[in-house]
Amino acid sequence: MRFGRALRSIGCFLLFLEIFFWVGSFVTQTVQSLGNSVRSSLQSDVYKIVCIGESTTLLGGKDSYPSQLENVLNERKPGKFQVINQAMAGVTTDVILNHLPEWINTYQPNMVVAMIGINDPIQSQAKTHLSVLKKIKLVGVARSLKENLMAIFEEYRVKVWAFLKNEQKPVAEPSEGPVLETEHEQFMAAMNVAPQPQKDTYLLTLLAEGQGRDDIAEVLFEKFLSENTNPVIQSWVVKQYGVLLIRRKQYEKFVSVMDRIPPDSWTLEWVKGYCQSEQAMQRVASVIDKMVVKDGRDKLIYSWAASCFEEGGRRDLMEEYLKKSMVTESSYYAPKTRANYTALKDLLLSNDIQPVFVQYPMRDIRPLLSIFEGMPDLNRIIFVDNGTSYRQAVNEKSYSDYFIDRASGDHGHGTKLGNRFLAENVAQAIAGVIP
């Protein structure tokens, strides 16, 4: 009896909540369209840009990225630009494509800036009955909330872990000497204070390599690495050694040597080395897990690994890693999304509208580029890369300066600053084609 009542209560609550989301969505859409049509009808000889996308484009009002884009562009040429925000919250690219002809008709834009795809299904083999679930707004909301919670938990885990290991916070402390920027500078500084015999050994390796005596250099490297324990030096020298080993096709040794240092983005470049080795390929899985780099490219490693395995003749591993890369969000575009992107490009180009395709903040541009690989009109598209610039910016300040949540996992809805940053990136990318 009580259980039934509780179920009834919860069901009623969820139903009302879903209704509120639909109503809210409808109201925002209507208000926005009204606003857009009013503004659009007023101007005539301005350069019109329509921004399409989802909630990350839509939200913010004055602080949304399309509004800020208009500000940025008009700063240079007042009154010359109009940016219309025709984004829709929570929709897939199917919906956006369906509306596009109507928007082209209404606004007659010169340019369309598209940041789309985040809500599209990830699995390429999405079962049809699941598509009903996707229609329910609460499911999307729940997913967003889950991402936010996971991010909060991850933050705590990192904090607790750091506390337990008594790690120093990676904050730039005011230091006595000059600030050591690059890894090379750090390495040089560390070498300067290393014991003289070690310095000599290192110099000899350089000399041997220079003379083409890789066999001697290999021995010297081994000696050096067994004597020196400074992690900064190790990290640098091991990589040099690794390069040499690849050159000498000593792949097994390469693997064991590389295991000495924590894997980083540099190591990613050398996945091929691992894949060339029959033995190493067995261990690639564990190595790849270790190679998860927190710069957004981690998911890309899977597809790289897949191509490597293909080269090495291991089709079974290739299939496995290809599947892994497909199910991760940031590296792969589902076939439906790819098709919609292509259709979008064709529609825009055939209407003489400049397409501008924007990759989501924090994400690599390459998966987006790969959609259009080999197409003849690839050079007519402007792409906006938000990977490195955002990652750098977030590193310098903090994630929460740029985003208010983690609705999409590696990024979320932007703060005023975050949206301005995005607007500036777009403005920079289109600078060459706008009046």
Partner: protein, 471 residues
């Protein structure tokens, strides 16, 4: 730990789960440990300070109750109050007074330059609250209005019980100590009611207060020329921000208490529906104003020793009440302002005059007028400095640009306070603060769904600290 944070959610889940299975004695021990942990999460070093204060008061109260000699009793009363006020005075007001004196000496050219550099004194969390609660305990024991606690642990829990430790309500020994010493009934209904209160408190804090803060803060942070409408908007927003912040916190505290079988006092009874200053202070921060009345106003003479004495007592009480809120002259001015309003009201109202009630037009007018007087008072409370007060007042009355208002900002204000006002009007009409809780289950689900929707859509993720936190 803020109540609306993940850490607190985890903390409370663990504590509450244990609480439900423990016996009364172990519940108390659990709560003591949990409260210490709760306070230590902010700063474990100041836990010691709190213990000094608590232990002193406990011992003094015992001495007072065990002695019949009026002198002994008075001495221990004075010791206890002195210890409490010294701690409060040093940590909260030392810098303020020293800087003020320093400045004064400079102004009078008795010093060529300031000799005082402010010490880096941290303000211990909740000090104003637990100090006042402790004073009320000792004074009540002295007045024989309450029986002192027989157990140190019971008294300890009475003070540090974590839902009310940081920002009240300030509980009296008479009503709260028995709840500590006697077993409490934890019922399903209590849990649901407590959860409702907590949820509503979270809504007030996260949806209303934190969003309004985003409107208020930029205005008060800027030092440039103010425009009247902008100032008015910020003041309206702040009036509701501070109310929701504090009422929200109080509701969360009450809700948590209810879940555990405690009845914490109601701190706010629709204060902005008051028609005059006297009524306002019966509805705003009730536990503080009754504290001021019982331990400051009445000892100063109250209303029983002639009009002159009464006015003086009112002014002094409100001045000190203002000072309690913060160590700055703006708070003192705010207290003085309310003192003046109270005195003014007494002067204007005839004794036993019939007050208009209900929805009569006269009462509605009174409420609107008085609300604006309170809003004006909040300018004094929120301003960063006295020059800013002057500048904003000037803008409000002289530089009002009616046509150039920021429609977006005003509509944001309306959007954020509409749900709150709707609920408050409903509460006022029914005369029941828990009116929504008593509605039909489907209506309640609709209410919850709407609140949750608003929270998801507009709830500020990283919330501002409670305004009253640093008290």
């Amino acid at each position: 730990m803020l109540f609306n944070s993940l850490e607190f959610f985890l903390f409370f889940t663990v504590v509450y789960s244990l609480y439900l299975v423990f016996s009364h004695r172990w519940q108390n021990r659990l709560l003591i440990a949990a409260s210490c942990l709760f306070y230590a999460a902010w700063n474990w070093k100041f836990l010691g300070l709190m213990f000094i204060s608590i232990t002193t008061d406990y011992l003094c109260a015992r001495k007072i109750s065990r002695s019949d000699d009026p002198r002994t009793r008075k001495i221990f009363l004075i010791i206890s109050i002195a210890v409490n006020l010294s701690i409060l005075g040093f940590f909260k007001y030392f810098n303020f007074f020293a800087c003020s004196i320093d400045g004064l000496l400079r102004d009078f050219h008795w010093l060529s330059q300031g000799v005082y550099t402010p010490l880096k004194i941290i303000l211990p969390l909740g000090i104003s609250f637990y100090t006042f609660e402790a004073i009320s305990y000792v004074v009540d024991v002295y007045r024989k209005a309450a029986t002192p606690s027989k157990s140190y642990w019971d008294y300890l829990l009475f003070v540090i019980y974590f839902p009310h430790l940081i920002a009240g309500p300030i509980m009296r020994a008479k009503s709260f100590l028995p709840q500590v010493t006697q077993p409490r009934a934890v019922t399903l209904d209590g849990f649901f009611e407590g959860s409702f209160l907590f949820f509503w408190g979270v809504f007030e804090k996260v949806f209303v207060a934190d969003n309004l803060a985003k409107i208020v803060n930029p205005v008060f942070a800027s030092s440039g020329a103010y425009e009247g409408g902008q100032v008015l908007l910020a003041l309206y927003a702040f009036s509701f921000q501070i109310f929701c912040d504090f009422d929200g916190y109080s509701n969360m505290a009450r809700g948590l208490g209810k879940c555990m079988g405690f009845e914490l006092a109601v701190n706010f009874k629709l204060p902005y529906f008051a028609g005059d200053p006297r009524e306002f202070w019966q509805r705003w921060h009730i536990t503080l104003s009754t504290w001021l009345r019982d331990y400051l106003y009445i000892p100063l003479g109250g209303s029983r020793q002639g009009k002159g004495r009464m006015y003086m007592a009112l002014i002094v009480t409100m001045l000190l009440g203002g000072l309690w809120h913060g160590a700055a002259w703006t708070f003192v001015l705010w207290g003085l302002y309310h003192g003046a309003l109270l005195v003014g009201h007494r002067l204007v109202t005839r004794e036993h005059q019939m007050q208009p009630t209900g929805l009569s037009p006269l009462r509605v007018l009174k409420v609107i007028v008085f609300f604006h007087l309170v809003v004006l008072g909040w300018l004094l409370f929120r301003a960063q400095s006295i020059p800013q007060v002057g500048a904003m007042l000037k803008a409000l009355f002289v530089n009002f640009d009616l046509l150039n208002q920021d429609a977006a900002a005003w509509s944001k204000l309306v959007m954020f306070i509409s749900p709150l006002l709707a609920v408050q009007f409903w509460q006022a009409k029914s005369g029941d603060l828990l009116v929504i809780y008593r509605q039909h289950w489907m209506l309640k689900k609709l209410f919850y769904a709407l609140m949750v929707y608003l929270l998801i859509g507009w709830g500020v993720m990283k919330s501002e600290e409670f305004i009253y936190f640093q008290f």
